[in-house]
């Protein structure tokens, strides 16, 4: 069960369809771990439907109805039958990752950290998996923008807490922090950024130019 959840504002934007694809995918992945946030989201969708029912109706021509009636026998697209999600990962991530973690292309950043960039089509957000070796850290860094993190495997801690699978953290323009994987095993997190991370320690700073945002 998740102990760290999206801020209410994020669930509002998510349920309104107002989040960018990468961020919506990350919130949606948290929901597949979290019955409480699913319940909240259902209530927020009711806000949307109540507002829709209060709109001034716009007349629809009879021809539109006829044209839909004529298409009712068309076969439904197969994609409506969503594939069964595995026990390991939210179904959506399963589809984006399309295979095992080990089959992804991992870029080694430090001895303890590798990053795999995934394609979502989101032009403003980088959508990537961070793999931290057991007990290893991501060097001290800060973000110019927002950072959304979801733990998928293992766990990590930083100055604000300890995070386990399903836990969700959203920060904006955070202070420098250095997440450290807990000792039990490697930690894999999904991170959605709208600005590249910047290492703040001198020995890693030379890498910053190589960490440009890889949105898309």
């Amino acid at each position: 069960m998740a102990h760290h959840h999206p801020q209410p504002e994020l669930l509002v934007e998510y349920s309104a369809g107002a989040l960018a694809i990468g961020q919506a995918a990350c919130v949606s992945a948290h929901l597949s771990y979290c019955a409480e946030c699913r319940k909240t989201t259902e209530q927020l969708e009711t806000v949307g439907s109540s507002l829709m029912e209060r709109l001034q109706p716009e007349p629809v021509a009879e021809a539109v109805l006829e044209s839909v009636l004529a298409r009712l026998d068309d076969p439904a697209p197969l994609s409506y039958q969503s594939p069964a999600a595995s026990d390991q990962l939210p179904g959506l991530l399963e589809r984006i990752i399309n295979g095992d973690f080990s089959e992804l292309v991992w870029r080694r950043v430090t001895s303890a950290l590798s990053i795999s960039y995934l394609a979502t089509g989101d032009r403003e957000h980088e959508f990537a998996l961070y793999r931290i070796a057991a007990g290893g850290s991501i060097p001290h860094h800060r973000h110019g923008g927002s950072e959304m993190t979801l733990v998928l495997e293992g766990g990590f801690s930083d100055s604000s807490g300890v995070y386990h699978p399903g836990d969700f953290v959203y920060r904006e323009g955070s202070d420098s922090h250095a997440p450290t994987a807990i000792d039990d095993g490697e930690c894999i997190v999904l991170a959605v950024l709208d600005a590249p991370l910047k290492f703040t320690q001198w020995r890693y700073r030379w890498m910053n130019p190589f960490l440009q945002l890889r949105a898309g």
């Binding site: 209410p8 107002a18 709109l55």
Partner: protein, 214 residues
């Protein structure tokens, strides 16, 4: 839209025909949902009932069209196209509608929201492997008492929406009907982002939306 202008406050929705019981001063339907629109969906799923579909269309299509045109750059043609897409999906997915779990209007809203998002992305030539449906909550089977609890909470939100102060309703209108983020809503209404966020939080309190605390 400017929130209140396009919103008809006295609208009487179709969900309220189920026998109401008073809980905490708010009407909450008991037992199985028996309102007209849920019944239409069940008839479509079980009997491929075109007359039920037509009734459903006449009620929801004008609302979906209004939703398509609200605060967006969609043309009237695109709005009609969206109506067709949504209503076709309603027919094709009716078998997945569970009247125990959700209100028909909320189910339709999520389909309209997803179709509109996909249409925006298509028109912007947005290249993505992910459809808005993929980003929706994955259906899961909850126990009956959980479903009942969730449904009552949703009914309560719906009733309380009627008494929402206009400044809060306006922002929720921007976000839900126009698909704007809080920052976009703040920019358009010429309000500080903090004000927008605090109005949203106040609205959620008024609506008694159950939030998991961090």
């Amino acid at each position: 839209m400017t929130g209140a202008k396009a919103i008809n406050v006295n609208h009487q929705e179709g969900e309220s025909s189920a026998s109401p019981a008073i809980a905490g001063g708010v009407a909450v339907p008991q037992g199985r949902r028996t309102d007209e629109w849920s019944e239409c969906l069940v008839l479509m799923a079980e009997k491929q009932d075109r007359a039920a579909f037509t009734r459903f269309f006449r009620h929801f299509a004008p609302l979906i069209k209004a939703f398509a045109l609200t605060g967006s750059t969609l043309s009237a043609n695109h709005a009609d196209e969206l109506v067709q897409e949504v209503m076709l999906k309603v027919w094709q997915k009716a078998g997945g509608f569970n009247p125990e779990k959700a209100a028909a209007s909320t189910w339709v809203y999520t389909i309209a929201r997803n179709c509109r998002t996909d249409m925006f992305r298509r028109l912007q030539k947005f290249d993505t492997p992910i459809a808005a449906d993929d980003l929706s909550m994955e259906a899961d089977e909850e126990e009956a008492f959980v479903q009942l609890h969730n449904r009552r909470a949703a009914e309560r939100v719906k009733s309380l929406m009627r008494d929402l102060p206009p400044d809060q309703a306006q922002i929720l209108g921007k976000v839900y009907m126009e698909g704007k983020s809080h920052s976009e809503a703040a920019a358009e209404l010429d309000l500080p982002l903090g004000t927008v966020k605090s109005r949203v939080r106040l609205a959620l309190q008024k609506l008694q939306v159950q939030l998991e605390r961090k």
